[in-house]
Amino acid sequence: MKPDLDLAWGAECAWPEGRAERPPARPWKYLALALLLTGILQFGHGAWIQAKAWLAQVLIAQAWSRTLNGEQRAKPWPWADTWPVARLIAPRLGTDLYVLAGADGSAIAFGPGHLSGTPVPGESGNSVIGGHRDTHLAFLRHVKQGDELLVERPDRTRVAYEVRDALVLDKRDVWVTKQEGPRRLTLVTCFPFDALRAGGPQRYVVFAFESKNRGGERGTRG
């Protein structure tokens, strides 16, 4: 049987003529091909979301270095409608990300987004950052109480934060954007982390407060 199997790919060409007119073979083939094409597109769509998310960070890194050199609203690509406003580092997890202006869908496809209307990360007050649980903010599931988060600002200074708490909330719990209280980061992503589809009502919110023992703002390191 083995030789026969090896010929399987070419077998159709050798099909006896009289039997080729048998109809059932065709519709199956077309269906399979259609399915194949849809599968490719569907997979490509998913892969592209991931690829775009991480490729964009490379371009954004360049825009950020321009920002550090004094450029205002440095766009990572010419037609971008967003720009990096801060750099976010989680040293223990080795995460290094650029935070973009605006937490709307068009921005957070490329990086975690700073929710407009709240103070820019590093400023006093409550800076809210949103991002996708399956791309940039996937690291949040591994964040633990006491973890250090660093924010680099356009003036090259860094502010250290300490993770205090994480809560599973509803998307309507907009109170987490409240401004009273000390300097802090509020990181928002979707929950549960392993859900397949987007659009659920739950949010995973991580609260990080400015580290008092480290004296807050520091100069550039490394």
Binding site: W28, Q42, F43, A103, S116, G117, H132, A198, V205
Partner: protein, 704 residues
């Protein structure tokens, strides 16, 4: 399906598995590279041709409820009773706001509410039991001082401030446990006369506004749901707490109108509320809400039409007060003969912010679709949508042809209402300095006007208008009337309201007539020789089809005749009105003073120093007892009420969400934080596996 028979199933399965893996890997590689290339192309094209985001500002993505607002359990219950006396084209309203403290504490209640944008509030009394305490008009800061002092010494006291021409705040302190205190205010207003119909509008709720800018932590008391921002310095004062619709409607309002039209009435209608109408005489009606009281969650409107031919073409009412005559003049030019239709360039601007979600966006889309269908060959057009950012459909205005119109209609239908209201970005795109060449350039702006930075927008319109004309269409149940009328005035266009889906047809029809008919321009008023007159508005705006000239004037004597002249379609028009032929009308002095205050405040936008204007407004408003942005009413009951050891609790009166609005779309949600990438990849792989096994199965079958 897999019906093949083999003698060596183990080897077979291994090969199938190998094939599958190889195939999937290949497919994935092809898919990824194809997707990268395709999407890069699409991104490039989309970024260049289709959308041109304004991208200048990126602030206030959502209307964030950053504060709880101080609507606590101790907030007083509020009910409002409104009675109107309408005579001819003027209405006098008495608004009674009753604060009922149902708690066991002493309470200070704060209520932020709307009034018509042209209301001249000239009286306020505070009722405590049977006693009515008259208020004084004071400079705003001084009034607040009087109020604070009275509050501290335990006296019952009431204060009324103006936040915007159509937003006011009443504050009542030292309401005892289980006690009622009423604030009774009165205002004078000239009515809108357009297309042969009078309309009386009474707004009931200040809808949640979008506040652009960065938040500022304010040191003073925080009563609103928003903090002040660097672009809206008083955001906290215009954002009363909003109840979730599930919490049930609050703030009942009853309305009663005594209507004396002066001429026989053909019909009376209330489009948004059911009313009972009693006919007292051919020209008099009495109107009441059929339900008795309704929740304060949308505008009330009463429309009446005089019988055919009986509507006056000229009206002149005067009042003699303090040695001066104050008058209101109305002249209706005859309808224009249908002239040649001018070629136009029309830019439609559609507000797709979160506050438009629900009924409003449906009305706006219908209206826009009707307008697109109405465009004529030879015209050019474009469409702009805006929420947190603004985008144009075409890079430049495009000729009207079935393909372009179809494309625009499809695009409009696909838009969704969500996000912020960055109106400045949209106005910059619409008023970009293009003049339409030989065409008349018109911008039609569909919005609910739910923003807090009106002044900045007005300045922008004034600076960038050029030869363009701006027409506003106020959408929804509680549009911002101040924005609609002032933007249209500065835009040298006109405004209209659409509050229900079944009004779209008729209201748009009227607007099309205005857009397409020749305008009456260069209007001037010539007072008779020797009569010293001061009239507002000083410059009379161009008139569109169906609109009258309305002027408020102060004169020394009533002699001779006043002449109003203008040009339409290069033909002169003139009307003469003998000044002695006047009807008498109370409250004309307030209307005149209100007109002058508005003109003075407008002059700040034209560069007049604010300090000077402020002094003038305070002087004028004090003489005429008017509430303005610089002057407030304060009333104090001399007898102390609250024992010095009892605490006073401050609470804001909560308001309803305007009817048809969607709470979550307005106040936003936390950002969405997930993509469908894993789902897409997983389903993609499953499909590939399935397709592959089908193909494989077929091949195997051929050897069976």
């Amino acid at each position: 399906m897999l019906s093949m028979q083999t003698k060596n199933p183990g080897a077979n399965a291994r090969i199938v598995a190998f094939d599958l893996i190889a195939f999937v890997a290949l497919a994935a590689a092809i898919a990824l590279s194809a997707a990268v290339v395709l999407t890069a192309v699409v991104l490039l094209l989309a970024g260049r041709a289709e959308a041109s985001p304004a991208g200048e500002e990126k602030q206030g993505a959502l209307l964030l409820r950053t504060m709880e607002g101080k609507a606590s359990a101790s907030a007083p219950l509020l009910s409002t009773d409104v009675s109107f006396r309408v005579s001819g084209m003027v209405a006098r309203a008495r608004v009674v706001q009753t604060f009922h403290n149902a708690s066991a504490d002493w309470v200070e209640g704060v209520y932020v509410f709307p009034l018509p944008e042209n209301a001249a509030v000239d009286r306020l009394q505070m009722r405590v039991g049977e006693r009515l305490i008259e208020s004084e008009i004071r400079e705003r800061g001084a009034a607040r001082q009087v109020f604070d002092q009275a509050r501290a010494s335990g006296q019952r006291t009431a204060l009324m401030d103006q936040e915007r021409p159509n937003i006011f705040t009443t504050r009542v302190a030292n309401i005892g446990p289980q006690e009622l205190i009423a604030v009774e205010l009165e205002y004078q207003q000239s009515l809108r006369y357009d297309n042969g119909r009078y309309s009386l509008r009474f707004p009931m709720v200040v809808g949640p506004r979008y506040l652009p800018g960065n938040l500022r932590v304010s040191a003073t008391e925080q009563l609103g749901w928003s903090l002040n921002t660097d672009q809206v310095l008083d955001a906290a004062r215009i954002t009363p707490p909003v109840l979730r619709p599930e919490a049930g409607p609050v703030n009942p309002v009853s309305i009663r109108v005594e209507l004396d039209a002066g001429v026989p009435i053909a019909q009376v209608a209330s489009p948004y509320h059911r009313v009972d109408i009693r006919s007292l005489s051919p020209s008099k009606r009495q109107i009441e809400l059929a339900a008795g009281a309704v929740p304060a969650n949308k505008d009330f409107e009463l429309i009446w039409e005089p019988q055919g031919g009986s509507a006056p073409q000229v009206a002149w009412f005067t009042e003699h007060k303090d040695g001066r005559h104050y008058g209101l003049l109305m002249v209706l030019p005859p309808a224009a003969a249908p002239g040649t239709r001018l070629a136009r360039e029309v830019v439609f601007v559609l507000d797709t912010s979160g506050s438009m979600a629900g009924a409003s966006i449906r009305q706006a889309k219908d209206a826009l679709e009707l307008a697109l269908a109405r465009l004529a060959p030879g015209d050019r057009f474009n469409v702009i949508e805006f929420n947190s950012t603004a985008q144009t459909l075409f890079a430049d205005a495009q000729p009207v042809n079935p393909r372009n119109v179809r494309r625009a209609a499809d695009w409009v239908q696909s838009l969704q209402a969500r996000g912020g209201t960055e109106m400045a970005a949209a106005l910059r795109l619409a008023l970009d300095g293009s003049d339409g060449g030989t065409r008349v350039r018109q911008v039609v702006f569909l919005t609910d006007g739910a923003v807090g930075n009106e002044d900045a927008l007005f300045r922008l319109i004034r600076e960038r208008l050029g030869d363009t004309r701006l027409f506003t269409i106020g959408i929804g149940s509680a549009p911002n009337s101040h924005f609609m009328s002032k933007a249209a005035q500065l835009g040298r266009g006109t405004f209209t309201y659409i509050g229900r889906i079944d009004e779209v047809q008729s209201k748009m029809g009227e607007l099309f007539a205005k857009l397409e008919s020749p305008v009456l321009k260069g209007l001037e008023v010539h007072w008779p020789q020797g009569v010293r007159a001061q009239a507002w508005p000083a410059r009379i705006p161009d008139l569109y089809a169906g609109e009258p000239v309305v002027i408020a004037a102060a004169l020394e004597q009533l002699e001779g005749e006043v002449r109003v002249s203008g040009m339409r379609d290069a033909k002169p028009w003139e009307a003469r009105v003998p000044l002695a032929l006047n009807g008498s009308g109370a409250g004309m002095g307030s209307l005149w003073a209100r007109g002058k205050v508005e003109a003075l405040i407008d002059s700040i936008r034209e560069g007049a120093p604010e300090a000077e204007v402020r002094t003038q407004v305070i002087e004028l408003a004090t003489a005429h007892r008017l509430v303005t942005k610089y002057t407030s009413f304060v009333a104090v009951d001399r007898t102390p009420a609250r024992p010095s050891d009892a605490q006073l609790k401050l609470a804001a009166v909560p308001t309803n969400l305007p009817e048809g609005w969607e709470y979550d779309k307005v106040f936003g949600e936390l950002p969405q934080g997930a993509t469908d990438s894993r789902y897409a990849m997983l389903t993609g792989v499953l499909m590939l596996l399935f397709a592959f096994s089908m193909l494989l199965a077929q091949r195997r079958r051929s050897f069976a």
